[in-house]
């Protein structure tokens, strides 16, 4: 993987790319505002690059506990009605979505 060095100045294209990855529709004026804000944040974040982290193991989680699993026993789960209750659009007993598969060619 091509690992880039930290940079602080983001381009319009990078903002649009990140918004695409994050599934956020973004307008032209929002691109410009996001560029300004994120550039200021990355300028601050870049302070971290002064810390010597050579040879340090990353720490994902403060507890460093191993997974502990509960007993594999049957218990009640939510009803279909409860699961669908907060859905903005349902059809019969399904979540409704736009067409996923394309027309056959």
């Amino acid at each position: 993987m091509n690992e880039n060095q930290p940079q602080t100045e983001l381009t319009d294209d990078e903002i649009r790319h990140v918004a695409h990855l994050a599934r956020l529709a973004i307008t032209v004026s929002e691109v410009s505002k996001a560029k300004k804000d994120l550039t200021a944040i990355f300028t601050h974040i870049s302070r971290s690059s002064a810390v010597d982290t050579d040879g340090v193991q990353p720490l994902d989680h403060p507890t460093e506990l191993l997974n502990h699993l509960r007993e594999d026993t049957c218990s009640d789960s939510l009803s279909q009605q409860q699961v669908l209750a907060n859905a903005p659009v349902i059809k019969d007993v399904y979540f409704a979505v736009p067409k996923v598969l394309g027309e056959s060619t």
Binding site: M1, N2, E3, N4, Q5, P6, L10, E14, I15, V18, A19, L21, A22, R23, L24, A25, I26, A34, D37, L38, A40, I41, H44, I45, S46, R47, S48, S49, A50, V51, T53, V56, Q57, P58, L59, D60, H61, P62, T63, L65, N67, H68, L69, R70, L78, Q82, V83, A85, N86, A87, P88, V89, F95, V97, P98, K99, V100
Partner: protein
């Protein structure tokens, strides 16, 4: 007047998003105690919106573990308190239901993100409130509102039913008028929960048993990085007075160096948004939450438009920030590097706790600032400069009232921040109790409500 009527009449601060009709409590150690719940902790009763249009009207089919435990202990749950959207903010101005106001000066912010919970207690609307703390979101508003705000050690209180922001940093905790109430309530809500895979599986210490026994030969660490020109004068003065109070109680002061304090915020603003961008990917406009009314030709358009309409600016900013630092080509330089600094911050704390029992400093560099005064994100983030590392390491911390500032034309509270090592929560609360027993700051009220 009933509790419900009392809150409805007196909540001129927008502290509550929902005020509930109360029910007859069960018997228990918290019998009759009126407690408010931050709006990012799910309750079967009412809605849970996280201060976001995305979850407007969301009705949880289950209770968070802490909610069940409070009810089982006899608490009266009075409603849901406003917060920054998805707990992202330090002022409770980023709330879809309007900003929350500080009862000490209604032109000023209460801090955030648990601003509504802090105000509910500070303004005497209820006895206590639950909040969540990811980088200071309990302790900072507690400091700015003059109440006790306690963030337990990570894993001590179940996160089951806390709407996830940054899972390795989030922790539920309390707002109270006294350290004793914090101990009593936390004793009821803490303990292993098999529904939270990061719940601490070992025996949890009793927080109440020795609470009022002072600690002998107490060693208080004061980092040079916590005192100085970053802070307002009144804040530095109040902290010096607190140090003098502890000295009179027999404590010795240990001078400390925590050089990574300075990079805490920059590390936090890589880790927390990275986790948030992943956690908030669940809001897809399909299973629950806001869905665009526009006709969408495919799933991508439905996701993108629903999310753009449902989320506010600060949440979108952090999702984009987190997406960027996790994206191909930048993961190593930003995210993985922040995880390495996280280990160094933990080691820095471990070394510090070899020479002292507790680390003392201000909770925030300033007192409450005016509503609308902090337009740029970085200035807002720096409010958490003294609190973020507590979460990065997962240790426990508490903010207790330690003075007032008259510098800004109104009387504004100052918070004393105490941090102890992992699972030394009982010791932390005892040390806080020593200060509270020797002072009267925690008894002062904004004076608006009798």
């Amino acid at each position: 007047m009933s509790t419900t009527q009392h809150i409805k009449k007196n909540d001129i601060y927008n502290a509550f998003h929902e005020i509930w009709e109360t029910e007859e409590p069960s018997d228990g150690v918290l019998h009759g105690l009126c407690i408010a719940i931050k709006d990012n902790i799910v309750t079967k009763k009412g809605t849970t919106t996280c201060g976001s249009k995305m979850l407007k009207g969301y009705n949880s089919p289950f209770n968070a573990t802490v909610v069940d435990r409070l009810e089982n202990a006899g608490a009266v749950l009075v409603g849901k308190t406003n917060c920054d959207e998805f707990a992202m903010g330090s002022s409770t101005e980023h709330c879809a239901w309007g900003p929350v106001k500080n009862p000490w000066d209604t032109n000023r912010v209460p801090g955030g993100s648990s601003g509504g919970s802090a105000v509910a207690v500070a303004a005497n609307l209820c006895d206590a409130a639950l909040g969540s703390d990811t980088g200071g979101s309990i302790r900072q508003p507690a400091a700015l509102c003059g109440v006790v705000g306690y963030k337990p050690t990570y894993g001590n209180v179940s996160r089951y039913g806390l709407v996830a922001f940054a899972s390795s940093l989030d922790q539920i905790g309390t707002f109270t008028h006294s350290v004793e109430d914090a101990a009593k309530i936390t004793q009821c809500i803490s303990g292993y929960d098999e529904l939270d895979s990061t719940s601490y599986p070992e025996t949890h210490p009793d927080l109440c048993e020795n609470l009022k026994n002072p600690i002998k030969h107490l060693r208080i660490g004061v980092p040079s990085q916590y005192i100085g020109s970053n802070n307002e004068t009144a804040v530095n003065d109040a902290i010096q007075d607190a140090i003098d109070t502890y000295k009179k109680l027999g404590a010795s002061i240990v001078e400390l160096e925590l050089p990574l304090t300075d990079v805490g915020i920059s590390t936090y603003y890589v880790l927390a948004p990275a986790e948030a961008s992943s956690n908030l990917a669940r809001y897809d406009g399909i299973r629950y939450g806001h869905r665009t009314d526009e006709l969408c030709s495919d799933l991508f358009e439905l996701y993108s438009k629903s999310r753009a309409e449902g989320f506010g600016d600060e949440v979108k900013r952090r999702i984009m920030l987190g997406t960027y630092v996790l994206s191909s080509g930048y993961y190593e330089a930003y995210y993985n590097n922040a995880l390495k600094i996280r280990r160094l911050i933990c080691e820095e704390y471990k070394t510090a706790f070899e020479s002292c029992d507790v680390i003392l400093g201000p909770t925030t560099p300033t007192v409450a600032f005016p509503l609308g005064s902090t337009a740029d994100p970085v200035s807002m983030y720096l409010n958490d400069v003294y609190t973020a590392n507590t979460n990065i390491a997962g240790i426990c911390g508490i903010s207790i009232p330690c003075g007032f500032s008259e510098e800004h034309g109104s009387r504004l509270p100052i918070g004393l921040h105490l941090q102890c090592a992992w699972h030394e929560d009982a010791k932390l609360l005892r040390i806080a109790q020593m200060f509270e027993s020797a002072t009267t700051f925690h008894t002062e009220r904004p004076g608006v409500i009798a």
